[in-house]
Symmetry: D3
Subunit: 238 residues, 6 copies
């Protein structure tokens, strides 16, 4: 039995609230149980220097945690003067995951900046960020289409992310903080609606893991991603 009383293959309740804040072109609050992340998508009609004049767009991401989103207060990164390695790793992951499903040429010479800010953390914040950010990105692009700036949608397919892990010898889906801090193996899986892998990051916290264990974890992830993409579709249809 999991600490939360969930079944091994059970996601936490997923709530996706669109239009959460007023200013951003896309603004989503995603809740995966007690993990809550505000994901915004901001459209800028310019691209970073390395893309100037190439007729191509860019999608980038930044990630942060409010200092007291966690159980004990973390140092504020802006006050400390730099982003931690973990923060940079996560925001690079979010950016790559979203770019993987966007036709950057079709986006045109503009940039969409994703901000994922965790207001309450209970494990799985990077996966929730990707899943929520996709919805914010869709809303931002819908706005570009509505205003005539884009003729068609450059998003090729849905993308979502979920964590899986071996907890006390058992593969489980969507780890919360308690499970995450005690697990042997932790894997973050980013997949498309068509079931392709976009990113796969597995780490043996204790014992190395076997191919069989990995396969069991990927089966769980596959099913979880389907549910998450269904939740994205439902939110976008609302």
């Amino acid at each position: 039995m999991r600490p939360s009383g969930r079944q091994p293959q059970q996601l936490r309740p997923v709530v996706i609230t669109r239009h959460f804040t007023r200013h951003a072109e896309g603004s989503v609050l995603i809740e995966m149980g007690d993990t809550k992340v505000i994901c915004t998508a901001s459209v800028e009609e310019s691209v970073p220097p390395f893309l100037k004049g190439k007729g191509e767009g860019w999608v980038t991401a930044e990630y942060g945690m409010l200092p007291r989103s966690t159980n004990s207060r973390m140092k504020r990164e802006a006050a400390g003067g730099k982003q931690s390695g973990r923060t940079q790793e996560i925001q690079r992951l979010i950016g790559r995951s979203l770019r993987a499903v966007v036709d950057l040429k079709a986006l045109g010479e503009r940039q969409i900046s994703i901000d994922c800010d965790v207001i309450q953390a209970d494990g799985g914040t990077r996966c929730a960020s990707i899943t929520g950010a996709f919805v914010a990105l869709q809303d931002a692009i819908a706005g570009l289409i509505a205003s005539g700036k884009l003729a068609s949608n450059p998003i090729r397919e849905h993308v979502a992310a979920v964590s899986v892990g071996m907890v006390q010898g058992q593969p489980v889906l969507d780890l919360d903080y308690l499970e995450d801090s005690g697990c042997d193996t932790d894997m973050n899986v980013v997949m498309t609606a068509a079931g392709g892998f976009v990113e796969l990051q597995g780490t043996a916290e204790g014992e190395a893991f076997s191919r069989a264990e990995m396969n069991a974890l990927l089966d769980l992830a596959d099913a979880g991603i389907c549910e998450l993409i269904a939740a994205q579709r439902k939110a976008l249809a609302a």
Copy 2:
């Protein structure tokens, strides 16, 4: 007539939601119209080096804005590697305002760290931060009392803050962003329940302002603070 249709002496709707996030000892979402700030209070059983061994406590504050809390996306301060002068000015103001109503000796050798994070901005974020942070501070201290760590409440009285300004020649209360960016004089007033001034920061954006204008503004502020403290009391009583 004000852009929002409000009367000169009318506050925006104030909503104070306690226990907004789960981990902090005090956690409040304060909404002043479209301005929304998460204020948390975190108790740490240690003090900064300059207070070690003096038997006194400390209250400090940090402030931030989510990059897309504003109309156009601001650079993330953590990514830029430093907090702006404005940010530092605001967080110093919040800290001083709260310390002014706390008996630091009675707090004992512990620190309460306030974090004010703006998730949506429409003017008046520093004032909303102070008003909301006071409630979070009360909740954190109530927890210390409930757990037997404090025998009595070191908070001497309520404190709240509001902005006032001369907009097109007229004194108005609680400026929103539109008014704030176009006003002649902008004043942030921090007051106690007993009507004493804790902080007063007035700036002539265009013309210098007269003593008479200042008095009119302070009358408005005085009335506004009363309403805000009533809102704090109501929230704390809930």
Copy 3:
């Protein structure tokens, strides 16, 4: 009786020395008793990016203290790698105060950078900086007029600053360090020759202050500013 033997409404001796250093377009040493600040005004024929092409000028300020301007040596900010929140707050105040009396359109597309460097501190350094910087600014602008780069003076009126405070229950003018560190209320007042307020920053260090106390303090400030502006005029006439 004040520690310095002054009357409550008595300024410290004010000495304003123009042409203190050789290179700057305006260079002033201002002494308010033992507080000594070098204020220079540097003309640059370009403006910051946000003003490019708008036909408008800019006045900005930076502030610093020599490490041993104070009683115990302070860390050198350049070595520490950043300016403190206090430093930034003060230099923003100086800049705003000067811009309030300059017609930036009439200044033309150029920037005047003010540097206020405290070589000896005894309280009131930010006020002395503003009062001295105004004279340096006048000299720099006189140079622009003399060289034919400006047809008329874009300065609308004099501006000066002084601190006032409640010390042991009594309102006093122009606090020195001893008074400043022990006072209940400290207020920095920036005013024009015409008696308008440009900036007003009051802080209750201990007890909150009343409207009556504030009025008494502003009366003192008003008289003090008159004397300071007289001293500016005398120096400029020399």
Copy 4:
């Protein structure tokens, strides 16, 4: 046919030179074809603060590239004032990979710092770093045993790393720079001698990848790791 003329399942020539520099307790030059990395292991008889007094050791890693290890000169990170997100991601990976095979309690309260400095890059620098660092770590620990500071070897098993990827539709082992920059999928695999996974990081650069493709890649990686561990053993036996 691969650009280098290699077979899909063929590693580049691996050369592991021990005792490459004089001062470090372990010092290895690893060459994977044209990729050359100096890996040193430095023993320090203290641990980071979070481990003080816990009777446990630590293994950590830092990574860097000489500015002209690459085809066009990169900015020197020390001059720029910070390590890139990529650098931090890599050094965190190296540290986790090595810690996964060390019994930190058995290491005792000391830290081994790994430095991986790329002097010439042709793809796969993070994998070469891990494979080479393991040998440097072994040498450093052998020294601790020889000097009587450790009674037995806290290393549980060999660990090595290799990249695999889908290049033009074909799974290949040990990508060089040319392949790496043109591939569809890139996966870094860190495995133990017993065939367990320690880290798995797959990224779809273009198209998402399927489970079948991933399995083909992991088969290649498995075989490659065996060869790399054989090369480690041979070097350590010399």
Copy 5:
């Protein structure tokens, strides 16, 4: 003829003003013609970590230039967030030069921090800093002796510094800015009263210089140092 009308072997007028500011244990304004530097010496009853418990003292130095000490305004290093290479080079030189004449064991476990702040620059600021700092250091040590904290003077002999250079083929003493920026060879010479060299830094700006030229320059420096040490003695006797 030199631009200033001086003879090749002629120093600029040297003025050394002791007790220039009030707070520091030693405070000197040194003027070498138009070059003006405030040199303070601050006594701290502690030493840097690497000297803790060794019964030895330390003398260290920091150097800065006011932004408008120069002909065109320099960026303020505190605002830029770091000290330039030139600044660091100079402050290291000042520190080494002073330590060379102090018996650090006899100083006892305390640190004297020298601050050299250039308020007006016309070439030779690093040399003026050393010559002036020596006098400030003497005053600070005299205070330690007067207060009974030191039994005898740990300063072994006077030290002073001067620049020499080849200007248009001729060796000259004590270069001003005009000469310095146009010279072929520039040499900073730090010497003791006994005529020993403490530091020697020669740079060929254009053509390399010969041994004969160097000897001519050192003869000039030798004589200049004698005059400077006489000026130090006279100031200290006043």
Copy 6:
């Protein structure tokens, strides 16, 4: 007798390996006994802003030490976020030394960036860097000539560097770390093939040094430089 068994006037074995790494236009490993430095020269077809449009080139240098090039591990400067004063001092010296022998106008509007990275240190790393960097620079320029980008060689003459010092009362050439850390006087001498001085940096670590001692040291340096330039020529002829 010197610790290494060398005669006072004896250099350590000098080995200069060209084409040490593959990517740089010039790449040299220089070994002076146990001191080993990788020197690369990178050609960039642009110049720093201050030279834009002046038809002149630039040669600049950066210097670094691998963390474990030294006996005990040094902090990695990239991780610490800044280059030390020593690092900056050395890289400025290398840059000036090389520029002294290059006709920058003849180089044309391009920059050659020198990187000197110490992989093993045993004293004299800055001198070895200069001597090795000169060879890398020659190779980079030979490439420009070979490709037709330069018609003739802008290098005027060879430059090399060596340290000399007073060790236990005796002048010796080319100090290793043991001698360097125990010597009374340490002098770094940069000279041209024609015997001119480019840079001269002498420091009395203990006692001040006399003119006679300096002359003895310069005689040693002169002879050492001749040998080093012969080694450069031999390497370039190979």
